[in-house]
Each structure stands twice: as C-alpha cells, then as structure tokens.
Amino acid sequence: MCANKATTLENEIDLGKTEKILEKYQTIKGALIPILQKVQDEYGYVPEEAAYLVADRLGIYPSQIFGVLTFYTQFHLKPRGKYIMKVCCGTACHVKGAPGILDRLQATLNVQAGETTADNIFTVERVNCIGACSLAPIIVVNKDAHAKVVSDDVANIVNDLKAREA
C-alpha cells in the first residue's frame, strides 16, 4: 500500500535519473547510503518519489529510508537553492557575532535557516565549526568563503549574487 506511493504522485521529477543510479548500485549490498547520496547529487536533494522508488527496488520500507534520510544531516528532503549560504555558528564564530549575521541573512532573504527562497536561488543553512576559526565569523557560499563578515556585509553578498542572476 505505502510502497505504491511513488506511482500515485503525478511524476513531475524525472525518475529516469534514479533508475540509472539504481541500475548501477541496486545489486550491491549495503549500497543504500551511497545510492541516496548519488540521488542527492543528481537532484540537489532527495525527492520523495525517488526515495519511494529506491525503497521499492531495494525491497525495504520507505519508512526505513526516511529514517536514514533524517538520521544523517547530509541529506536534504527539499529542493535547495542555487546558492547554499552556510553561516558558521561554531563557538568562535558565535563569539564573534554569528547569531547577528544569521539573523540579518534570514531577514534579508525572508527565510529561516534550513529553508530556500521561493525562487530557488538561496538556501540558508546553519553549520557547525568548519575549521577556519581564525577567519571567524564566516559565511560559505557554495565553495566561496566570506571571512570576518560583519552584519552590514550581508546585504552586499546577497546583492552581488542577485546581480549575477539578473
């Protein structure tokens, strides 16, 4: 009953990509997590339909997959933005004002940490120490790090990126 779910959804996402991943890894024992990682690499997140399909093919319950997906923080269940804005909230960054920076970023983009803007451009995330404490406080946008940020920088960082999109 539950395992049929995938087929009941109007398939908006292209499950072909999941099929391809499954083709390759389905028969390998213990490949669940690598499969889910590959799925996430493909779509940027793990779509529900894909998770149901994986469950069906591996002969496990979707509830078990959901358990894995929510156990590890590396997995995302919602589409993510083009720019992932990671605000470090480790101890050093915290002391140097990360909370204020996060607040400002959330206000500027009108989303909470963990959420994505409606246009799918920005995702704000709160992360733990990323090992660059000497540069605290720090925001990492995809692969680019912005060091020693002050609250007023936030608007600039966002505007630069917006300009790139325009």
Partner: protein
C-alpha cells in the same frame, strides 16, 4: 539443555535461550520495554539489566544476552537498581507522568518502575519535548512525549504486519515515530502497533474507557470474517461494556495476527444505533413496541398467511454471521413450526456448489487447515485478494513466503498486494480462471511434468481429463486469458515440481456461480499435482463471514437438512421427524431461489434472521423488487439494516458478545464464542426470540440454550458428532466434509466458454468485493472503521483515469451498467489493470449490486465524469 541459576533458582533452558527466557522460566520478573517474544531483539532500552556473577563487572541486557551453562545471574542488586533508576530518569525527562489521563495506566512498565523507584520527576533537567499529540490520523494517535522509543511499534509493523508504515525519524533528542515524508498514515490499521506499545504513546482515537484494573479479559472469536481469529476482549463487567479487543500471542489459529475489524470492529456492540426495542410498521414508519405486541404481530400474520396460502408461502433466510445453534434452530422453526421447506442463505443462493453442495463439490478432498501454510513449498492463490478478504489468512501467506521460504503464485484479474511478494503473478482477464487452470493442466500433461504413472495413479479417468483439456494449448489460453504462454508453462513447472502446494480459492471463484467451472478445474489440478488428501498440500476456501460455512452445515438450505443430509431422502426425513416430533416437508419443485419465487408471487411472508439481502443479493434491483412484493417481512437483527427498512416487524437480537454459540470457520473448525456481557436494553438472545415466536405459534422448539442446541445438532448430524467446542483456548474441533482419505480422485470434466466481449458502449469490466476495513452491516457501525474507510468510490487504473479526460482522484464520475447507475468519486489504485473498475460492496449509500443482474457480480459498465 543448559543449567542457569537466576536469583538462586535453578532452571534448565535450551541452548541459545537468553537470560530473560531463563528468568521467565524461573518465574523471576525482569522489566522490559523493547523486548517482545514475537520480534527480533534489539537490546535498545536497557531496562532489563542483570548482573552475571563471576562475569565481567558490567551489567548485561538480559533480553539479548544468551544464557550459558552454570551461569549465575542476579536480577536484583543495588548496582542494577541504580542503573535502572537512571534509565527511568532519562525517560522521565520527556515522559509527562500524566498517568491519570493515559490509557495505558495500570498496564504500563514505566508507571510501575517509576512507582517502584518512588520517582516524582527526573534528576536531569533538560528542555522537554512538550509536543502536542499527533492526531493527524483519524484512527491512531501518537503521543511523542510518552514515547520511550523502544521501537516495538515499528518492528511489529515491519515484522508482523509486513506493512512498514512507520519508522524512527531523526535522531537523539528529536527522534520520534512517524510516517515517511510526514505523509498521512496509510496502512492496514491492524492496531498491532497500538496493542504492542508498552506505554500509552500510541493509541486508538476511539478508546472506550476501561482501566486495566477494572476490566476482565474474555477470550472469544472475532465476529467478522470466516478466518475465525481468536480475540481477547476487555470487558467492564459492572458497566456491562466491551471496551477493547486484541489478538493474543499464542491464542487461536491467528496467533499474533489481527486485522482492523478484529481490533476495532467490536465497537458496533455499543453503537448508538442498536435497536433497544422491537419495531412494528404502521404505514411508512417503524415504531417501537413491547415484545408482547411484536410477537403477537408476528404469530398472527404468519398464521394468517399459512391459513390463506399454505405453509409454502412462508420462507426463511438464515445468516452467515449468526451461530450454528441459531441457524439450526431457525431452519427447524421454518421446517417444523411453519411447515415450509423454503429456507436458504445468501451464500447458497449465490453459489450452491460451495453451499449445500459443498461435500459433493469437494468430491473427497478435505479442507486443509490454515496452519498448513507454514509447511508447504508453494501457495497457489486463485481469485482471492487475501489481504482484503481474509486479512489474517493473507498475513499467514505473507509470513509463509517472506519468513518460511514458500513460493507464491498469484492468479488474479487485479494486481493484488500479495502479488508483490509472489514468485509469479498470473494476471488474467476477469472470469477466465477456468481456462487458465486448464491451460496449466494441459501443459503438465503434454510435457509429462507429472510423470505418467504418478498421474495415472492419482486420477482414475486420466485419458478423459487429457482429452477435455486438449484444446487448451498455451497459445489458445494466452489469447483467452491474456497471460503469456511462457508464464503458463512456468506455473505448470512450478506446480508439478512442488512437494506440497496449498491451493487457496477466494471470492472471484467461489462467490460466483458463473465460475463454478473454475473450482472444478482447480480440483483437477490439485489431484493431478498430488495435493489431494494424502499429499502435503491441500485446498482452502475463503469464507466471507464468520459462519458462512456453518449456516450451510446447519441445513439452512432448501435441499439439505443439517449435516448435508438430503431432505429429498424419505429415510433422512423420517430420522429428523422422529427427533423433532413433527413432519419435515419435502423440498418443493419451484424453480429459482426465494427471491425469484417472491417475484413470481409465491412467497407471502419472509422471516430474515441476521441477513441483509438488499446489500448482499447479487442482483440489487431484483431483490428490492421482490421484497416490495412480499406481504409480511420479519427482520431479526441489531440494526435497521437496508433490509430491515422493508420489514413489517423488526426483532432486536443481540451481538455475539451478549450470547454464547459456535461459528464454523473456513477450515471447518467449530469454535465457541463466549458471552461477555448481558443483553443490552430490551434486546433478546436470538435463540430466545426463536423459541418465543414458536411458542406463540403453539409449538415448542425445546431449547434456547446454546449447548443443548449443539447437543441436538451433534446427535442428528454425524458431521458434528464428536465435535468438541468447549475448549478454553477458543479452538474447537474440525468438521470433515469428505468421507475419508481416498487418494485416487476422479477428474471433473470442465466445459469452458470464454466470457463474451462486452457491448462496445460499456467498455469497462466492473468487479466488486469487500474492503479490508468493512464486512457486512456491522463494521459500518464502528466509528474507528468508518474513520479509516468512510465512503465508497470507484477504483480505476491511472491510465484509465488519464484517458477518461483526465479524471483526478476524488472527481465525481457516473458508473453506468445496462441495469443501473451510481455516482461515485474516482480513486486511483494500482491494483486495477486497465479496463477493470472496482467498487466495494460495503457502503449502503452506494449499493453496487444495483449495477449487476442475474447471479453474477461482474458486469460491463461505462464511466464518465459528471462534475
């Protein structure tokens, strides 16, 4: 065996037993949360800690630690108490200690231990979860604050029910039990998770209040389907209430299993719609009257009609959901007090071959017990959506396949759920089962898959059988059934090589007279493959209601007296006349069942005991017309059913909880259900009602006591002699419908005509059946079951929905057959192949039988969008 000492008590246990097992044997109590004998151990909660003397200094979780020879175990010490206490305190960080409002109070280990340690609160101060209970589901609520994360609900759903609807979500502080992607809980609602939760975290939302300390449990039988599960009911004696129901590990044929009806269906007992008084019709309304007036009305009218038209103008309809004793007394009443030979029941009216014709149909085959499913190599499931028709039997099939390595071949016109675990699914066109089975036989014989000598030793008329199937070549069968020739060959190979195959037949085959040939063909296959009586397999027939089998055993059929003794045989009649002290009428020569006879004007009065023909007779228009023509209708039931609304007098009987009796299940097992509470309001036990009516008519029916009636049955019917029903465990003796183990069988010759192509303007084939959550009129009186399945629909394949100009789930469509029309919301179901629609037969506000005609519950329909 090894010797273990637990708290100074020495016990011997099997090698591999855990310390907990040993402690149980020694009668030493160790508290547990996550352990359950039925489930794989996880050792997650660490409340069952013990010390091993002379072993490592740490503590061991007794539920996962194997006992060893000469091991000395302490279950009580300061160290253990301290560790346990800490564990409890960690749980109490979140657990609210709201025992006064918790349904588990009085049967909760956490409560007991908190009490034992005298804890008021936890030493650990952390933010509490303080989550609102999740009541997004209409039937089951989840209270995460109370949850101790033992995972039993999850494991029972995965391991026992095989549904896997819930899992552990997130981790650590945030962990909780939930559905994947926060989707609405969409499951079997078997209730195992609820009845297994060791605390009050997972509950039915329809709790009937009953504290553990003021309920007593009564072991009885479920009153719904023909599987005949044993269920333990909670009873509040003082208030005369049944408050709960669940299967108990090790009790009855079902063992662990229960379905949603077994768990929550009992609520009909206390439905506010129960009739509290008899009713008499005046004009258009039924009004409450005294028993005296009602009995007077019944006897006066019956006597008048007998005087005016003769006794044959009176007919009786017995019940597939009432006891053997009641059915026995009912036919005795109609035959001797009224003097009419016209008694029948709906099953027999639908398909005589599995009604009064059963012994003849079985032709020497013996019904196999359900437990055989655990031992066979292969299961052949034909025409049965087992998980819906007979959910617990369906679960036994699942267990056999997933745990005991049985193979499963599913032959069904729809993609049923068990197909997902089948090694082969033969998805044939509706109504072509006989051709499919003949095709398999053809394949076995032409390829000598069963060696010639073996075949000849099993079947007397082998050559005749061979000739009769000669036209069923794989190609021909593929054309008729739509099943690929290669698949038919593969099925034939599997069946021929299996040492022990259980053949299960369901509604599509036995509930349908049009399909009698399919059963005949299947029997040939059973004998041919060596699964006749001496074999390791056998035949099982699903039965719709708790006593579909018994009502026929009891002779509530026109041609057979109790025990399938022919009423046409003067010697048999003489025997019964002697016992009953009254003449026994010979079956009449009228053609057609009593509904047809009513239409022909031959029936003036009809006594219906516990049946709802308006909903259950295959031809809905015809039965309504017939009832409209009958002058005087008596209905004996708990509710104003659809049929009772045609009645002139309604007599309020009682539910199975208010009386004692026996049901005979699909295996022929006679099981006793025990009285739990006294009759509600003015309702009377049905045996009493029959006796009282008889008395008014100037006759005596001898016994209104169930045990005495059973003694009379046993005396008159060899079938039931020696049947013991008095077992406390709820498992009675088994009736055998065949004379003995004759290993050589005679093949029945099957003629088959392919179902004709439907008219072009009715392109869909419509089929029907019961939903998992409903059966007969009673399940519709359970609020919980209505909450999970509240209304009818028409199920279509996704492709058909798209092609019917993009119908979406929930859109209203009109379903029209040549005989009638119904307006229903559309529902997607992957079960339906293209071109097949399904409407459940459970909803009185959408009676699917008005679309059917004749004796078939299949028809062609057209479907279009209305809104």
């Amino acid at each position: 065996m090894i010797k273990v000492t637990i708290d100074g008590i020495q016990v011997e246990v099997e090698n591999g037993a855990t310390i907990l097992d040993a402690a149980k044997k020694a009668g030493v109590y160790i508290p547990t949360f996550c352990h359950d004998d039925r489930l794989a151990p996880t050792g997650a909660c660490r409340i069952c800690l013990v010390e091993i003397e002379g072993g490592p200094p740490r503590l061991f979780a007794s539920c996962v630690t194997p006992a060893a020879d000469k091991m000395v175990v302490k279950t009580k010490s300061e160290k253990i108490a301290k560790a346990r206490k800490t564990n409890i305190e960690l749980l109490l960080v979140h657990h609210p200690l709201d025992c006064p409002v918790c349904p588990a109070a009085g049967q909760c280990h956490l409560q007991d231990l908190t009490y034992e340690f005298g804890l008021q609160t936890s030493r650990f101060k952390m933010p509490r979860k303080e989550k609102e209970a999740d009541i997004s589901n209409p039937c089951i609520e989840q209270n995460d604050n109370r949850c101790v994360l033992c995972g039993k609900c999850i494991r029972v759903c995965n391991e026992i029910q095989g549904v896997g609807a819930i899992g552990l979500v997130k981790r650590g502080f945030n962990a909780y039990v939930g559905t994947p992607f926060q989707n609405e809980l969409n499951c079997d609602f078997c209730g195992h998770c609820v009845t297994t939760c060791p605390v009050g975290a997972r509950n039915s939302r329809f709790i009937m209040k009953g504290r553990a300390w003021n309920v007593k449990t009564v072991n009885s039988i479920c009153s719904f389907c023909g599987t005949g599960c044993s269920i333990s009911y909670d009873v509040r004696e003082r208030e005369n209430l049944v408050t709960g129901a669940k299967a108990v590990h090790g009790l009855g044929i079902n063992g662990n299993f229960q379905c949603s009806k077994g768990w929550q269906g009992f609520q009909y007992i206390h439905s506010k719609d129960r009739l509290s008084k008899p009713l008499i019709r005046s004009g258009k309304t039924l009004s409450p009257v005294s028993w005296d007036d009602a009995l007077e009305e019944v006897s006066k009218n019956l006597k008048r009609i007998i005087d005016e038209h003769g006794p044959q103008a009176v007919a009786g309809m017995g019940s597939e959901r009432m006891s053997n004793e009641e059915n026995y007394l009912f036919q005795k009443f109609i035959r001797t007090v009224v003097g009419s030979a016209k008694v029948d029941n709906i099953l027999n009216m639908k398909n005589r071959a599995v009604g009064e014709g059963l012994p003849e149909t079985l032709g020497g085959l013996v019904l196999a017990p359900l437990e055989r499913l655990d031992k066979v190599q292969l299961i052949f499931l034909a025409g049965a959506d087992a998980t819906e028709e007979s959910p617990v039997a369906g679960n036994m099939i699942r267990r056999a396949v997933t745990k005991l390595n049985a193979k499963l071949i599913v032959a069904n016109s729809r993609n049923i759920r068990l197909g997902r675990i089948a090694s082969q699914s033969l998805a044939h066109r509706v109504g072509t089962e006989a051709a499919l089975v003949n095709g398999i036989i053809h394949e076995i014989l032409t390829r000598n898959l069963v060696p010639r000598e073996a075949a000849a030793s099993r079947i007397e008329n082998l050559e005749e059988l061979r000739n009769s199937v000669s036209t069923f070549t794989p190609d021909y069968v593929e054309r008729i059934t739509g099943v690929a020739a290669a698949e038919i060959s593969r099925a034939a190979e599997g069946l021929a090589s299996s040492e022990g195959t259980a053949f299960l037949c369901g509604r599509d085959i036995i509930g349908n007279a049009g399909n009698a040939t399919a059963l005949e063909a299947l029997k040939n296959l059973i004998i041919l493959t060596g699964n006749g009586n001496s074999g390791k397999g056998g035949i099982m027939l699903f039965r719709e209601f708790s006593n579909s089998q018994g009502v026929n055993d009891m002779g509530v059929t026109p041609n057979m007296l109790p025990g399938y003794q022919s009423a046409k045989d003067p010697k048999v009649r003489e025997k019964f006349e002697k016992a009953w002290g009254k003449p026994v009428p010979e079956p009449g020569k009228e053609t057609g069942d009593i509904i047809q006879q009513a239409i022909d004007g031959k029936i003036k009065a009809l006594y219906i005991m516990g049946e709802d023909p308006v909903m259950r007779y295959p031809d809905g228009q015809k039965v309504r017309e017939a009832l409209g023509k009958i002058e005087f209708i008596i209905c004996q039931d708990l509710f104003i059913t659809e049929t009772a609304s045609y009645a002139n007098v309604v007599l309020p009987g009682v539910s199975f909880a208010e009386k004692t009796g026996t049901f005979t299940n699909m295996e022929g097992r006679v099981q006793r259900f025990a009285q739990q509470i006294s009759p509600l309001d003015e309702a009377l036990p049905d045996l009493n009602i029959l006796c009282k009516v008889a008395e008014r008519m100037g006759a005596k029916l001898k016994s209104n006591i169930s045990e005495e009636a059973m003694a009379e049955i046993a005396q008159l019917s060899p079938l039931y002699s020696g049947i013991s029903t008095a077992t406390g465990k709820g498992c009675g003796g088994t009736v055998s419908y065949s004379p003995g183990a004759d290993s050589k069988g005679k093949a029945g010759i099957v003629s088959f005509s392919a179902p004709s192509e439907g008219p072009k303007d009715f392109p869909f084939t419509l089929v029907t059946g019961n939903l998992l959550h409903h059966l007969g009129p009673y399940s519709r009186k359970s609020e919980a079951l209505n909450a999970v399945a509240g209304g009818s629909f028409v199920e279509l394949s996704l492709k058909d929905m798209k092609e019917l100009d993009g119908i979406k789930e929930g859109d209203m469509v009109l379903v029209e057959s040549p005989h009638g029309r119904l307006s229903l919301p559309a529902k997607f179901n992957s079960k339906s192949p293209q071109g097949v629609a399904f409407i459940p037969n459970n909803f009185e506000n959408a009676p699917v039988n008005i679309l059917f005609s004749g004796n078939s519950e299949v028809t062609q329909v057209r479907i279009y969008r209305t809104a």
